[in-house]
Assembly symmetry: C2
Homo-oligomer: 335 residues x 2
DNA sequence: ATCCCCCATGTAATCGGTTGCAAGAAGCGT
DNA sequence: ACGCTTCTTGCAACCGATTACATGGGGGAT
């Protein structure tokens, strides 16, 4: 308004060339002779020209941004993934747009408007619970799913090896001699929950151990739900000796509440988590957990998406490795 | 590509009106008669038209997005603020762009390119350590600072009452009888650190208590630095009996390490934090801390920015209230 | 010397909406 | 019936960059 930012026109005039040449110098320098290139660059320097992104995007029929749909921006778990996405996008000069899918009331309609070609060139969807119709309209750009996924969508997914992770944690507890193992799982409809439950159940079955319904407790990944689960366990007549939790947050909430009630971890009770968040290392005792590389998941998802945008046909699913991190919260089963 | 998305032209043709009328119907319905408005809306419905954002932005000379510069996307502290910003922006149909300022190597140059009119209509800057030159060029859009700030920039800032918060925590410890109080502060150049240190020092002085240099420990807001601080305290000949930490993460890391070394909290040592993150409530004992409303800071910053974009001249600084949350990590000074 | 090809550059159409201006219609007062 | 205001609508010029196509000059081969 106050200041007229220079246009490609102005640069062209100063360098005594056409706007086409300026544009080419900036986007495909190999098409321009060395002499004019230098001339143009000098003029760019002098005017302080920078391209107008809106105009560029309009002409190029793209938006220059990728939209990430996260279930909960406040959850550090997802922001680590965002960080990984961001690194990859920055290299390609793409913007990262974020939208919180649970943030406010705005539901399907708003989401469908966001998942639109004119807003983003592609999507990274991290919420497995969104209605498929959000993505089924013709104006929806290509997308990949990360972490969470929805089986009804046939977009590629980048996920940790949840089944294996649950198995590793469970077998670890079994190897320590536990035979009465509980599970604190996530929201029932969540695909992560289903896969991890399956890994848990398979490991129990392979060891010939019972899968007792009253030891299966539903949570919501929050510390609060871990605390609530601890209270339920404390109230049980017939208590388990160990629990596998679907998130470190829940594991920590559970462990802390047990300790407050005089239960010694791991002497009397073992706790295993999932994720390996920063807190896991600093808890007392340290939380035995399944490490998944969150930034790597994000980066891989971003790379997959970019490949699709270039026309590649990627794997339907990329499964990233997980590993067991043994810390102090698990120990031999009490006699 | 495969599918031709409808243009305003197509809607106009179907409704038998001009493109101008279609545009007006969609953006300023009051300018259009009721009959044509219905006609147009029907045509919009039938064609499934949605406006092309790039074209709209080009013509309107704006970008439709606000860029948030965060020091560390992985830090939940900032993502809560982002959540607050997001809620306000969504109402106005603005996008939230995020950039991590410490993410990769890309420093001043990249940042300056991001802080550009053609990329965002405004900025919310949460990194007080960015060089002022990033914002001093003529193409930098209006911006506000949130949480952290840089005294050299004269943009409005929205911050918690850090001085008061530090004072509240410190006076709380003093009221409990502590006279040997340490402080674990953040990075030295950080404005938060300076303000909170001042609040701490003022409270000590008002109570006539000593401000011992060897009890002032520098950290970086991480749990790990809290752990390191605990080790330093344990190694001291002449130990304090309480510590005020500039973040809950550090407070937790410190408290956990003390406990691992047999120090009973709060019986032998009291710990106070700052922020009131989720963990504070679930730690054992619960962490006494200063609560600041992170989402509210974000929302206020966003509203301030939008006001500026509308031409308002806002307060130079908005200071949001904080309060002391007393939990189990602080208790009477040992005899 | 002639022909052909390639390289560097310019011309102008185009991306898809928005909006200043003007014209026509309708309503109102006298 | 006339002049004036108000309301609706259309025309066409933009916003700023990209790129298909055309053009002209230079170099190499024959």
């Amino acid at each position: 308004m106050t200041k007229n930012t220079p246009r490609v026109r102005d640069v062209a005039r100063l360098a005594k060339v056409s706007t086409a040449t300026v544009s080419r110098t900036l986007t495909r320098p190999d098409l321009v002779s060395e002499t004019t290139r230098k001339l143009v660059m000098k003029a760019v320097e002098e005017t302080g020209y920078t391209v107008n992104i809106s105009a560029q995007n309009l002409r190029r029929q793209r938006t220059g941004s990728i939209l990430a749909l996260v279930p909960n921006l406040g959850n550090p778990f997802f922001t680590d993934i965002l960080g990984g996405i961001n690194v990859v996008l920055r290299e390609r000069k793409l913007n990262l747009l974020v939208a919180d899918t649970t943030g406010t009331s705005g539901t399907r309609v708003q989401m469908a408007a966001l998942a639109h070609r004119s807003r983003a060139d592609g999507l990274v969807v991290m919420d497995g619970t969104l209605a498929p119709e959000v993505f089924s309209h013709s104006a929806c750009p290509p997308f990949v799913q990360a972490c969470e996924w929805n089986g009804q969508l046939d977009a590629p997914r980048v996920v940790a090896d949840n089944h294996l992770g649950a198995g590793l944690a469970t077998r670890h507890l079994i190897a320590l001699g536990h035979r009465r193992i509980a599970q604190l799982f996530g929201p029932e409809e969540n695909p992560l929950t289903i896969t991890r439950c399956a890994g848990f159940a398979d490991a129990l079955q392979a060891a010939g151990l019972p899968h007792r319904a009253e030891w299966m407790i539903e949570g919501d990944f929050s510390m609060g739900s871990g605390q609530a689960a601890a209270r339920r366990i404390l109230a049980m007549k017939d208590r388990p000796t160990a629990v596998f939790c679907h998130s470190d947050g829940m594991a920590f909430g559970l462990m802390a509440e047990l300790q407050r009630n005089g239960v010694r971890v791991p002497l009397e009770f073992s706790v295993a988590g999932f994720d390996d968040i920063e807190l896991a290392e600093h808890a007392t005792p340290g939380l035995t957990t399944i490490r998944q590389e969150r930034a790597e998941i994000g980066a891989t998802a971003a790379r997959t998406l970019l490949a699709i945008l270039k026309g590649a046909v990627p794997e339907a699913a990329t499964v990233l490795p997980v590993r067991l991190v043994e810390r102090g919260s698990t120990g031999p089963a009490p006699a």
